[in-house]
Symmetry: C2
Subunit: 343 residues, 2 copies
């Protein structure tokens, strides 16, 4: 038997003060034409009557929702949790809210996310493409409907939209070069699914680093996995027979699996096999030995993506410039797992 909750509207305030609804609206929005006196009176009444503006009505009228849709593979993955953190921070600082949708790395869910966001009339979409996604039409649709789109981490050139990515190539190049500088020559690599640009770029960085240092690329020292601890274990088992003296793993979980295999084989890290991973997962610092890795500036990626979005909002429809692509430079973090040379 609860009373139906009736909410105060601007009309209620208008009646209370014997003014027009438009006046109330203007006063609340600090329209300069409204006299200070009525402005104050309105605001006071609003407070007294516990008025809560109806953003839905306002959105319908204005044609914009002040909401950004964000699509990530999963909030459970550290990396994306951090990115979301950065995005939401910048968004709320700009008076925007974040509507979240997880693709769970599934193409169908990703399409559904775009659909939902279209219906919700979000003012823009920030997305990281799912690993499963090959057809990008749903994202192209967004663009053609005039909804600003910014990609982060998993971007794709063909979409021609602003994006923030990490320079995976450079990170891989630096990581591999570091191992070479430590005196390693038989450097193995465990890669990920090659249709994922990031993983492919890391492979390329690895190969080029070897080339630059005049070390022949040995296909037998390269394994491809599915980017998980288990996959790291498996791949390393195969690679060990090739007697590598170092490993560059596509990311930290893969490195972790490899470490387990190496230890089980009775080899020492880094003396027998030096290791460097990628992503600077929280745990990497606390492994024994602590894992060298590549830091991707995740929170900053989110912040930059959101910032790029707000830039895009401003010049919406103007400028025919090519979309901005922000490439964050990763930095290698050298820890015990790759410190072969003393000092």
């Amino acid at each position: 038997m609860s009373e139906p909750i009736v909410r105060t509207t601007i009309l209620d305030i208008a009646r209370e003060l014997n003014v027009a609804a438009a006046t109330v609206s203007r006063a609340l929005n600090d329209h300069p034409a409204i006299s200070i006196a009525t402005r104050e009176a309105v605001k006071q009444a609003a407070r007294r009557m516990n008025y809560q503006p109806n953003k839905i009505a306002s959105s319908l009228r204005l044609g914009r929702s002040k909401i950004i849709g964000v699509i990530i593979p999963s909030a459970e993955i550290n990396f994306f949790g951090s990115v979301i953190h950065g995005i939401e921070k910048v968004a709320s600082r700009n008076g925007y809210n974040v509507l979240l949708y997880q693709s769970n790395e599934q193409y169908e869910l990703e399409k559904k996310a775009v659909q939902t966001f279209l219906h919700s009339r979000v003012d823009g979409v920030l997305a990281s493409i799912s690993k499963e996604t090959i057809n990008l039409k749903h994202y192209a649709d967004l663009k053609s409907k005039g909804v600003p789109l910014v990609l982060f981490d998993r971007a794709h050139e063909s979409l021609q939209v602003p994006s923030v990515v990490v320079n995976d190539y450079q990170g891989a190049f630096d990581a591999t070069s570091h191992l070479i500088q430590q005196g390693c020559r038989r450097i193995a690599h465990i890669g990920g699914q090659q249709h994922v640009t990031n993983f492919n770029q890391r492979l390329r960085g690895y190969i080029d680093a070897l080339n630059v240092h005049n070390i022949a690329v040995d296909d037998d020292l390269i394994a491809y996995g599915k980017v998980s601890i288990e996959s790291g274990r498996e791949c390393m088992k195969n690679l060990l027979s090739r007697n590598p003296d170092a490993l560059f793993a596509v990311e930290d979980f893969t490195a972790l699996g490899a470490i387990q295999t190496i230890k089980e084989a009775g080899l020492r890290i880094p003396e027998d096999v030096a290791i460097i991973g990628f992503a600077n997962e929280k745990f990497s610092e606390y492994l024994t030995p602590s894992l060298s890795t590549v830091n991707q500036h995740t929170v900053r990626m989110g912040e930059e993506a959101a910032t790029l979005f707000f830039e895009l909002l401003q010049k919406k429809g103007s400028s025919k410039l090519p979309p901005r692509k922000l490439v964050l430079q990763p930095e290698i973090i050298v820890r015990a797992s790759s410190a072969v040379k003393p000092g």
Copy 2:
């Protein structure tokens, strides 16, 4: 010079088919009164004209948004990332979307979140109370305005709303009992801020476990920190002079800091000091020695919180039953850091 994007409305479809807008609306919503023929015709036209329903207009008319507001301290914290994952999963399965707001553990931002959600006319709010928050009026306001509220992890009895929490007391009791069973008698505890219910409950579980096993509680073996690696290091430095043979840390990061201090002091884990943490952070499994801890079922917490919300939606305004409180039973995970007794 981009064309203004004009979107198809039900009126456009209506004109196209020479029917009323109401008919289109009904057809699209599968209203039983509409003949199969027109229903199909409408849907086909909608597809052809690339119609995207305007959820904002619909929300305004219906008075509900199909959006849940979620307040968490930070998406960067693993724990909350997982919870969000669970919430969003269940929400989208029910046709709802998640609007995310981070409090960054700040009372002011938390109030702002509630305010924003009120303005956005979310259909409900799921929240985890910030550590800084003492005054709960903003949450009470939500309730009084008829917005369903469900709390998770950080709940508070006085609010009288449904909640999902972990049985911190039990987890702490079990963790401490486990150390006792391992033969430890001088068990130290590093606690957190005591106004946070969870931390206080863990302290109580620790104390009661000692009592039950007839071990005197020694205040000198208890330290209070700020729940961080650094704080764990500091607290452990003080505790070491008391010669503890075990430590129950309020959570894994604190445990990690303590481990560093213990190692630096040249003591062995678990032989000299056995350790168990709390939260089952990802890294805990990969420490050396691997860290015993307490698993909190984070994803499930999110799922349950969302489920509780949907239950609440259904019986909105009915039932004067006390709010449901779901208590997830944590489970201790025994790893090397507390395995004193062989086997």
